[in-house]
Amino acid sequence: MSQTDTPREGRLRTINGAALPSHPVRAAKGIVLFLCCAVVVLPFLAVVSTSLAQEPQINAAGGYVLWPDDPSLDAYRAIFAGGIVTRALMVSVGITLVGSALSIVCITLLAYSLSRPGTFAHKPILLTVLFTMLFSPGMIPMYLTIKQLGLLNSYWSLILPGLVTAFQVVIVRAFFLDIPPELIDAARIDGAGELQILTRIVLPLSKAVVAVIGLFNAVAYWNAFFNALLYMQDASKWPLQLVLRTYVVDEATMDVDPNVVGDFIPAPQSLQMAVLVVSIVPIALIYPFLQKHFAKGIYIGAIKG
């Protein structure tokens, strides 16, 4: 704890030797920060509250409420009815975990090999990797490739196409290049092989960037729905985002059936907000654990090269 001088008349209060601003300035800063926090928090609060609110209150409020008068879990009950969303949640978690782990392994291996001078053909391989940043394969060629590989309706079709991203390879490679070569030379003198150097020297020093690409990939796998729409013919294998999307598609585009509307269907707005909550919360829970690495990893990847 730093020393804070006792306030005395005629003297500035300081923290660590720096003068504290006057009370009005501090109050103004506090208000500004409070407003900034409110701008961030209020939309989340509105989403959660609206998902719990009843339709009359939502309508009276014009679409969003900040606090539900009579909270109800009807929207969540409707979403989780039948076990479809629960199964989709398991699919998404599985794809996210397996996909992220595989992506980290593949990207790390590729980036490490490309960061070591003298690796066989590393420049042509690096150029090939960079070349893929210029063009995307397109929807139909990708579909035909997946089909010819026999991956249609397979969970691998949701993982393999996004396994290695050139952009992330560049970030990780830049990080590895920044590791002092003396460390690696010392490990080599001690008899370490390349795999040992990678796992015992390089990776422990690279937690930040590994966390960053892990998060990038986890978010990408978690949010992906379009691949599943194209490649997964069996709806019981759909990931969460695609299943939830069926709840938020504009009702004007749907085949409205007046015969099957029941009183138990919650307000569309609360249903949509519940969908948002269900889709955001699991992945948002990862952020606090990776936050300390996140900014550092991005920063280093951005300025080294």
Binding site: G138, E251, G262
Partner: protein
Amino acid sequence: MTSAERIPLPGGATAPIALPRRRFLQGGLVLIGGTVLGSCGGGSDSSDPVAPQDAAEPPSFAPYTGVSPDLPGDPAHHVPDAFFRYPADPPPFFDGRPGNGGTVHILTQAGQIGVPLDRNTRWQKLNESLGVELTFEVAMPTEWDAKQSVTLAGGDLPDIMQLKSMAQFPRVLDSEFADLTEFLSGDAIENYPALAAIPSLAWKTVTVNGRIFGIPQSRPPVGPICSIRGDLLDEMGVTVDVSDGQDFLDLCRELTDPARNRWAIASDPSQWSLGYVLEMMSAPNRSHPWSEDDGAFTSMYETEQMPEALDVVRGMWEEGLLHPDSFTGNNAQMWHSGSAVIYFQAFPGWGNFTKTHPQYDLSVIPPMRWDGGGPAPKLLTGGAVEDFMAFKKADAERVQELLRIADYLAAPFGSQEFLLVNYGIEGEDYTLDGTDPVVTEQYLSRVIPTNYIGSARNVPLYVPGVPDVTRAQHEFLSDVLPSGAPDPTVGLYSETAGTKGATEDRNMWALQGDIVQGRRPVSDWAGAVEDWKRSVGDKIRQEYEEAFAAADA
């Protein structure tokens, strides 16, 4: 293929790596044009759609006579029968099972997915009744273009597939899908009595170049409706008495009170309000984009009424009669919240919202002539959902089996099978209130997306438990359909409209939005129309006129 041409996959499996070059190139063509051009043999010019063929005789109409409607329809004017209650003790319509015991794979649009077959007794029961195992692949309408494109490019088509019109549509149909004409044309449809009960107008939607390529889902051809909330009218003490355009504007002024956060209309102005004003001016609009007179086609863009209508809606926007978030907001939510009193929507929404919100006391304002003189002709649409179900090419026996299955799924209102197909199993998916089915909460998780395969659920008119709405709907349709203006493009195909037309349409709609919001003057419209005619308009007109003449002949 040798083993060297395979690559390892996770789990130890291998897969061939060779892509069939022809299909790959077709895929690229699908991407840019949405079709499987390369699979059409014969070396014909791929830019030339399949030439119109001799028009087939439409399927004969043979309505189901096992039930008596509470309000009889008018088939000549496409007014459906109406029922206040579901008939008691509905009899079976079919003898035996239509299927031969195999599998039928269906790709269709759907907004919901049901629980898997092993936990879905409704699905199991339907399979048992059909004598086949139905499997489904679904996509939402918002992503349908992508799903349809990759499926066609992949070449491994499902047995039954919903089709949205695309570039080279006739050619795709001709090369990949079964021509059903010989099985359904004229009296041949008598072999499929439920399909024969589908109103004749609906078959025009699935008839392309004179050949029948699909099964329609029939619905009243009335187009969008102008619905208004009676509860808000009562609250404001306003009565609706619209006999011309000025009355409509006066009504909108009465309904608008920004101090109470209330405006007359919430729907997208450049689409719905403009469309309604055009309808009152007896000019085509976005739901019915071409008019026809003695074989000559006129686009909604080029009518003399369009600048006047734009000026009217622009005035409504300036005057503040339209909700300020109309262009960007959630229009339905504005209406639900009472921020707007009028909402333009599809016809089924009338019954739908009445059931969920009976307090709304919904009614409909039919379009009146803008300058007075009685009702304006309602701009009609096709009598079926545009994206219809087609069968993959197969031998005649397989096609006939699929037709029998479609026939079952189109079971007529009043039969036992109608309840099974559309509501599920009594006691599980629905219960009976008197004789009316009332769906249970479980229904929603056991949805089976067969509704586009000829379902009779939109025709006849029947809103369970709300006979007053059924009566009002029948009365409205009886009023507007006989004098309505048929959509001349139903059943016709324009290659230019299917390729370049959509982009040009978006440009024109953007300009309409700019004009309504005062960012561009109305005088800019004429120049834009000339550009549109030069780029695509004249070509689309020519193609429609030729197709119309061929169909007429």
